[in-house]
Amino acid sequence: MTISQTFERLRSQDEIALIPYMTAGFPTLRKSIDHLETVARSGGDIIEVGIPFSDPVADGPTIQYASQVALENGVTLAKTLDALSHVDLGKPLVAMSYLNPLTAYGMERLFDDLRAARVTGLIIPDLPAEEADDWQASAEGAGIDLVFLIAPTSTSQRIKHIAERSQGFLYYVSITGITGARSALAKSLPDRLAEIRKVTDTPIAVGFGISTPEQVRSLRSYADAAVVGSRIIDAVRREENLFDLIKDLKAATRNTHTARHED
């Protein structure tokens, strides 16, 4: 199923998508693949996998830590894609990494290997829309959705420009800041999302700082997806029950009045 089909299906069920994020190679490559499978089975609708980079400037302490452990484990882009190519999560898979490792891998080889690993979307947090022409052309050729980010600081002109480019979905950065769990969502969120809706029909995922079912539930009124990252890394770190965590987050994406009960 493609990313777009996933959003269509969920919309018809009056649900928003849950997009859990995990760093490949944390705490080990084997375990991170197992965790991805758990997350896909327990309610993840689209799965985001982070490929570690030494200098992740958009990330807060939690994801920095996971990336550092992964790198110390010798995990690389090549090893991650190889490991992913041997599993089928049964859900659309989106990769996230920084430009430097992606560029060095070679664009053509990258898109070939992403396809072989069943990755259908790509997020590059340090690639702004105006630098992305080559990437877009290659992604399109490979049938991979290149997802762009919009931030609270993006001007309306930029929003329009980015919305035109983003494939699969748009990633709205919920706070002016880096990744990491926050206790409250920004007050400006509903207005900002309404502003974006005016210029595009592309589904909007909201991420950065989302950690609780309550936050996910409040996104139901404005967004099409909730991305949860640092909270999940923390759960892995503390060896919490991942299945239950994802199940509870997923439950919050449904309309509580009509939701069918999961067994």
Binding site: F53, S54, D55, P56, V57, A58, G60, P61, Q64, Q68, L71, T76, L77, A78, Y98, L99, N100, P101, T103, A104, Y105, P125, D126, L127, P128, A129, E130, E131, F148, L149, I150, A151, P152, T153, S154, T155, R158, I162, V173, T176, G177, I178
Partner: protein, 393 residues
């Protein structure tokens, strides 16, 4: 003309650009716009000039190192004395310029990164001068190595934030400063300390440092009625080098950048991305950098903390590929020897960074021979390095 770069997207040929999280993009456009207005704002430029003259102590002297020249027995060696600028290095030229620009933009919270502490001290000084709140990010390895500079910054009213992530050095201090900027971009100006980072920083820092080269041209013509045959500068991020090179780019003058050779370019322990790195994207720009086979950025080594950085400014990448500037490396040992030589026979203790330029300039002076002139950018003074030098000998 080489001096017309970058283009309006921040590119020097294939290098530069703006590779940052979307959260910062609008701020970079605002900064670019504000900088263009600042550059053409009469009162701001008068104020900058006046602070450079009366606070920084410009123009810095052009000094004929007569005893060094005689000792080497080759070309005449001239030193551009940035070590005599206030706070002891060229870094103050950029710090005063950028903090003044921040005031012009109405931003009163300033952040900066620092390695050895020179840029941190310069920024803390400019903030004290111009009444801004100042926070300096510094790797925890460096706060240990450079305790005096931490104290200097605190005395100047800055807060120093020790960075424990990654390799705990300059590269990670920049990462952390970028993260602060991403979070506080509405109120904060990030004073980058070299010609690195996303557009417009490499251009802006270059412009603030270009005073070094334009003064040198005037001073050379006044004293010797001709330009030097060669100009030599050390390259960390590349700001003192670009600063002195720029006025000479369109002249018939040989230009040499000297990177940190550390324990030797044949070992992994150096900081010479131009001499032996590959092209990639770090800290917002495409340029040369030191990375492993999987494009993870490497930790570097140099006896000089100010050169201990895996990246380099995009304009240097362009000048290397175009062949206009040649880049070499001087190793730890050569720099230490040059430092003690200049101390003994000229009474000038140079910064270890500047000693790299000097080490190469001495070889070059021998090669060029007596009728020629070599100008060296003596980017800073060595007081900060005394412990390191004492432990090394």
């Amino acid at each position: 003309m080489q001096t017309a770069l970058p283009d309006n997207r921040g590119y020097f040929g294939a290098f530069g650009g703006r590779y940052v999280p979307e959260t910062l993009m609008s701020a970079l456009y605002e900064l670019d716009d504000a900088y263009q207005r600042f550059k053409h704002d009469g009162p701001s430029q008068v104020r900058l000039k006046s602070l450079l003259d009366t606070f920084v102590g410009r123009p810095t002297p052009l000094y004929f190192a007569e005893r060094l020249t005689a000792h080497v027995g080759g070309a005449r060696i001239l030193l551009k004395r940035e070590d005599l600028a206030h706070t002891g290095a060229h870094k103050i030229n950029n710090a005063v310029g950028q903090v003044l620009l921040a005031n012009f933009m109405g931003k009163s919270r300033i952040i900066a990164e620092t390695g050895a502490g020179q840029h941190g001290v310069a920024t803390a000084t400019a903030c004290a001068l111009l009444g801004c709140e100042c926070h300096v990010y510094m790797g925890s390895e460096d706060t240990k190595r450079q305790r005096m500079n931490v104290f200097r910054m605190e005395l100047l009213g800055a807060s120093v934030i020790s960075v424990d992530s990654g390799s705990k050095t300059l590269k990670d201090a920049i990462n952390e400063a970028i993260r602060d900027w991403v979070t506080n971009v509405g109120t904060t100006h990030y004073v980058i300390g070299s010609v690195v980072g996303p557009h417009p920083y490499p251009m802006m820092v270059r412009d603030f440092q270009s005073v070094i080269g334009s003064e040198s041209v005037v001073q050379c013509l006044a004293c010797y009625e001709q330009l030097p045959d060669a100009v030599v500068a050390c390259v960390g991020g590349g700001s003192n080098a670009i600063g002195i090179f720029h006025a000479f780019l369109d002249e018939e003058v040989e230009l040499y950048g000297v990177e940190a050779g550390g324990k030797g370019l044949h070992t992994p322990d150096h900081a010479a991305p131009l001499a032996s790195g590959s092209v990639g994207v770090l800290h917002g720009a495409r340029s040369y950098l030191m990375a492993d086979d999987d494009a993870q950025v490497l930790s570097t080594h140099s006896v000089s903390a100010g050169l201990d950085y895996p990246g380099v400014g995009p304009e240097h990448a362009y000048l290397k590929d175009s062949g206009r500037v040649q880049y070499f490396a001087a190793d730890d040992q050569e720099a230490l020897e040059a430092l003690s030589l200049l101390s003994r026979i000229e009474g000038i203790i140079p910064a270890l960074e500047s000693a790299h330029a000097l080490a190469y300039a001495i070889q070059l002076a021998k090669r060029l021979g007596k009728e020629r002139t070599v100008l060296v950018n003596l980017s800073g003074r060595g007081d900060k390095d005394l412990d390191i030098v004492r432990n090394a000998v």
